[in-house]
Symmetry: C2
């Protein structure tokens, strides 16, 4: 065996999922309301405090290893647990031996790092929480490799940013950072001592309203340090700094912008400047919410919600293509056994978790991760299936929250959207059961999905109205059509051609059907419209809806936007004058709509081994852009006269129409450009 000691090879290992679960616990309680704690509405799971690692080595000569544990540890060989050591250096005898290390830490995950020439911690180690089961360890080779940085010490990156302007106010200073940002406020050049209050605002209205702004900090500065960085990371554009003492002075205000280092792997430029701004603002909004996990919004909740995350996953595939944050988010959302409520306590949010797995596999092809989640999937699916009614459909029981959308809708009884999501979840189960070789279950899940799909169409399809109705309650079928079930059925390909046509005109483009007011559900609505070829319509919607927010001065996209509201109404939500998040991940969906439906890049097999590019101008004069396709990238240019594409990975085809006739041309696999004239 040849090894280079200078090569990084040892990395931290832990009980699978426990670092993620612990990190989720820690970040979930960062939400505050005016300095008062605001923990999530769901159970926070915890890491195991006592775990044992094992590894069987073969050495031809003795070797010294260095053991670093995050916690107290004991090491022993060959099960001789009455001869244990807690020394940092351990000499391993030659031959074949089983090395066991038990680590305890009730505060941080009891992670382990061992360095030796041949024996070192990596993903071939096994671990147990003393439940008589051994699992492959969890790890993050790329980031958590240095023995000096235990997983519990992991932090996002920071970078000092200056405000666009600072003004002296009557009793303090007002800093405007020019756009929404997230990080640690810093006051520099402190002179004097004083109690200091900072009022934060995503809007000028909020920062000026000292009684009602959502975030504030209050601290006493003793004047002994030249500058002071506030301990909590906040989301804001404006910060008003108000000292109690009139003698207190500062030189400047800055902030440590806090972010997850990601690669910006996509790009978009078009003939429409507003659309270009929408795309850029979307990416910025999305990055602010892409952190330890995919968060919903950073000012208020800063929580991990499964429905929101499901969309973030998709946006991520058209921007950063970061595997790790998807994996962390899926693990954190799923949490630990026993499952006694839905994820985030919301029925639909359990189901989006499955679709998130489906999409992750499709986009990344990371079969190992998907397989590692199979037991967790089975257990959550058992929970869901156990909550079906006599008709084998899911409805909200006990205290389940059936969300679907912030809208005036009645989600009692059998909601058709829920059954469609369940159907897709069962399909995901069948897919992963196949991957792990659980043959009996493949068929079982497959059959259940088919039966449910048939049932959905036979019960909820209203031929007269040309769409799926919203729900059935106590055996009484609603005759109300909503967009929700129809757009999901469109996206999942559950309709036949005839139905597609009807749904498109009678539901999706029908202004009599209740309009959707959240960017959250506009995501699916507009994607579904693209699926039925309404790119021009979707472009107009993007320009008016997201353009509408920009016109109101948005520097990041919002949790909710109703063009019919005005003034301070845009800031209100949840009975709070500034309750609305003005930087919400689900506001960033143009990333996905543009990447998938305008640039037109879609995987056709897991990990983009096969893919399709089907660009659509949708009314634009031209666009050009890049979309990550797994380990490679696809570049797309289109104007009214030609399409040019190239790709650095996989086998792709370009789809386009010439004289209204569909065509397909293979994309060169040598990375060279393919150009197709359109006239």
């Amino acid at each position: 065996m040849k090894n280079d000691l200078n090569e990084k090879k040892a990395y931290w290992i832990w009980y699978p999922g426990d670092w993620e679960v612990w990190l989720h616990e820690q970040v979930s309680i960062k939400r505050q309301w005016r300095e008062v704690m605001y923990p999530p509405y769901w159970r926070l799971d915890r890491h195991y405090s006592s775990v044992i690692y094992t590894y069987t080595y073969h050495l031809t000569q003795p070797e010294e290893i260095t053991i670093t544990a995050d916690g107290r540890f004991a090491a022993y060989l060959d099960g001789k647990d009455n001869q244990r050591s807690n020394a940092e250096k351990m000499m391993l005898p030659e031959g074949k031996h089983e090395l066991s290390i038990t680590v305890y830490n009730d505060v941080n995950p009891p992670a382990l790092h061992i360095e030796g020439e041949h024996v070192y911690t990596n993903n071939t180690w096994q671990v147990s929480c003393y439940d008589k089961k051994w699992s492959p360890v969890g790890s993050w080779k790329e980031q958590l490799d240095a023995s000096s940085l235990a997983p519990s010490q992991y932090k996002l990156a920071t970078e000092e940013h200056q405000p666009a302007s600072i003004e002296k106010t009557e009793d303090g200073w007002m800093a405007d950072f020019g756009k929404e940002t997230v990080g640690y406020l810093k006051v520099n050049g402190i002179d004097g001592k004083s109690r200091l209050t900072v009022y934060y605002g995503e809007s000028m209205e909020e920062v000026e309203d000292r009684e009602n702004c959502v975030l504030l900090d209050n601290v006493f500065l003793d004047g002994e340090s030249e500058d002071y960085t506030f301990p909590a990371s906040r989301a804001f554009r404006y910060a008003q700094v108000v000292p109690e003492s009139e003698d207190f002075q500062i030189d400047s205000i800055s902030m440590l912008y806090e972010y997850l280092p990601v690669e910006y792997r996509s790009n978009f430029q078009s003939s429409n400047d507003l659309l270009n701004d929408i795309w850029k603002t979307s990416v910025y909004t999305f990055h602010l919410n892409t952190r330890e996990f995919f968060f919903d919004g950073m000012k208020r909740d800063r929580w991990v919600w499964s429905g929101d995350a499901h969309q973030s996953f998709l946006m991520n595939y058209y921007s950063f293509f970061d595997h790790d944050v998807v994996k962390r988010t899926l693990i954190a959302l799923r949490g630990k056994e026993p499952i006694v409520t839905h994820i985030n306590t919301i029925l639909d949010y359990s189901l989006y978790w499955f679709t998130g797995i489906y999409d992750y596999y499709l986009y990344t092809g990371d079969v190992e991760f998907v397989k590692s989640q199979y037991n967790s999937m089975v257990s959550l699916m058992d929970f869901c299936l156990g909550r079906r009614n006599a008709e084998d459909m899911m409805e909200g029981i006990e205290e389940d929250w059936v969300f679907v959308d912030w809208a005036d809708i009645d989600n009692k009884g059998e909601v058709s959207t829920i059954q469609i999501l369940l159907c897709r979840s069962l399909e995901t189960m069948a897919l992963v059961a196949e991957l792990v070789g659980d043959k009996d279950s493949v068929q079982n899940y497959h059959d259940q999905a088919s039966e449910l799909k048939e049932k959905i169409m036979s019960i909820f399809w209203n031929e007269n109205k040309g769409g799926l109705v919203h729900s059935r309650y106590n055996g009484v079928l609603s005759d109300e059509i909503t967009k929700y079930p129809n757009m999901f059925a469109l996206l999942f390909g559950y309709f036949n051609d005839q139905q597609i046509d009807k749904v498109k005109n009678n539901v999706m483009l029908n202004s009599e059907v209740q309009a959707i007011k959240t960017p959250y559900m506009r995501f699916f609505e507009l994607a579904a419209l693209c699926e039925v070829g309404e790119h021009q319509f979707v472009l107009d919607e993007m320009l008016s809806y997201w353009g509408g927010m920009l016109a109101l001065g948005a520097t990041s996209f919002w949790e909710e936007y109703d063009p019919n509201q005005s003034g301070r109404q845009h800031l209100e939500m949840y009975n709070m004058p500034y309750g609305k998040s003005l930087c919400h991940a689900w506001g960033a969906s143009p990333i996905y709509l543009i990447g998938k439906y305008f640039l037109g890049v879609t995987p056709a097999s897991p990990g983009y081994e096969n893919f399709v590019i089907e660009p659509q101008l949708g009314g634009l004069d031209w666009f050009e852009g890049t979309v990550p396709i797994g380990i490679g990238d696809a570049e797309v240019y289109m104007d009214k006269e030609k399409i040019r594409v190239k790709a650095s990975h996989g086998e792709g085809v370009l789809r386009y129409k010439l004289n209204e006739e569909p065509h397909e041309t293979p994309i060169p696999t040598d990375g060279s450009w393919l150009e197709i004239p359109l006239i």
Copy 2:
């Protein structure tokens, strides 16, 4: 409402079981092997870090409350969670309002203490771990009431003890505390600085063997303090203190004896001084192991084992009658969901947990506690029943450890003892199902118990040999009789009169049947022999077995005692020269045997509302003693000429024989003596 503010009424509350689970986690990792950590072989469960308390009050005028939380908290009224406060003082408005307090603590249980005139924390509050369920809170009114002492700060009591002797040795000092003890060693009158090593021993052999003694401490003393108390509580009789520096001096060695304050509610004196010593040493042994929980032994494991605890529960009813330590132990053993292994990973130990519940209810009548455990019982029983084989019997599957006893026995397949314990567990389920009003389950558990009992007798009873055989493996019935199943069936009353007679002579008194070598199983063996009237035999056994340990210098009773061993053999176990615990709870069973079978005090209905006293001299000339009977006590005197009893609680009968004829006489309920002449 009239309230005296000086009266203690507010006390700490927490998520039910979480303080106990947390405390168990903390104490379980105190085991060390020569300063190296030695965590338990089973999963350690953890408290919920984020919980929410709720209480609905009615106030006729506003009232200020003082909030103390162990952790960060937020309080709000009437579900208005966007108007929350973390102030210690809160003014409650008059009227009817719902007060919510959410508390977070990832290190200690997030407990809550609120003091107000009318609104204060007590057991009428509800709590949730955000799983959409509300439970009555956990609390310990008698001990954890002061707002200044959070549950996480709870400590056992200490008391400074001086050694019986201290000798200067070649390179240090040797202290002999005269008997086994548990606590913190202390060196006094320090002069100089030095690294200091302390070698502990339960025996002189151990303390003198620096390379092999199980416990040691190593510390550097900088000479700045006059005395030093070692941070870890140790079990030992001898301590050898060895400084590295020759100039280092101390004046004296003492120790802080650490103990659970309990009431010594029983007493025993008899005509036999050795038996009196056995009883006293048993109580001392038992007290040393009665702490936060009932531990097995304090030198080596200091863990909570269900089989050991089951016996400790019974000893406790004949000594301290401390409810709290029983409840803490049952809660800690049961742990949290999900159940994926047996308690302590041992099949029999899951079953003893149920019998522990059964006995707790019988002795204390504490119906509230038993009911509070019903859900946990159902879940553990479901786990057990789910692990039955096609014959509906339990056997070790996967990696279950089927223990029964430290003995040369084969526990593969269907072990009859296990089925008997399962039967008793099912009876316990039926009993508690009845208490909580779960009618369907009462019948179900009852039927299952009856069927199993029939099956046990029809399969394992060997009419020829006159007893139950040990096991059946792969359909082949063993023809080996062991005492285990026979003594449990005797104790649980599963035999008919004919069987009892056969078992007594062919099994229990048959020297051809494999002898039992652990005090653990001698407990049941001797109890069973008393059940069949062999008091004289049992007395002789106690005098020779426990007397044998005393003759070898025991100051507390051992984990194992084999009279056929000699010298250092008595100290060895688990491949360690001093591996045997010389102070083991299960060594203290004479407390139970004497209280229940000689003094003869037994509850006949829950909580000693009805009871029986049936004293048996068993060959003694006389004895007198006291046994706690719930809130009262029973006093018993007997010699060959008379019996005298009195009781301060419940309705009792005295059972005795006159001229070989059984008699019963009611015991006066006015607390006066009843005297029965026997000749």
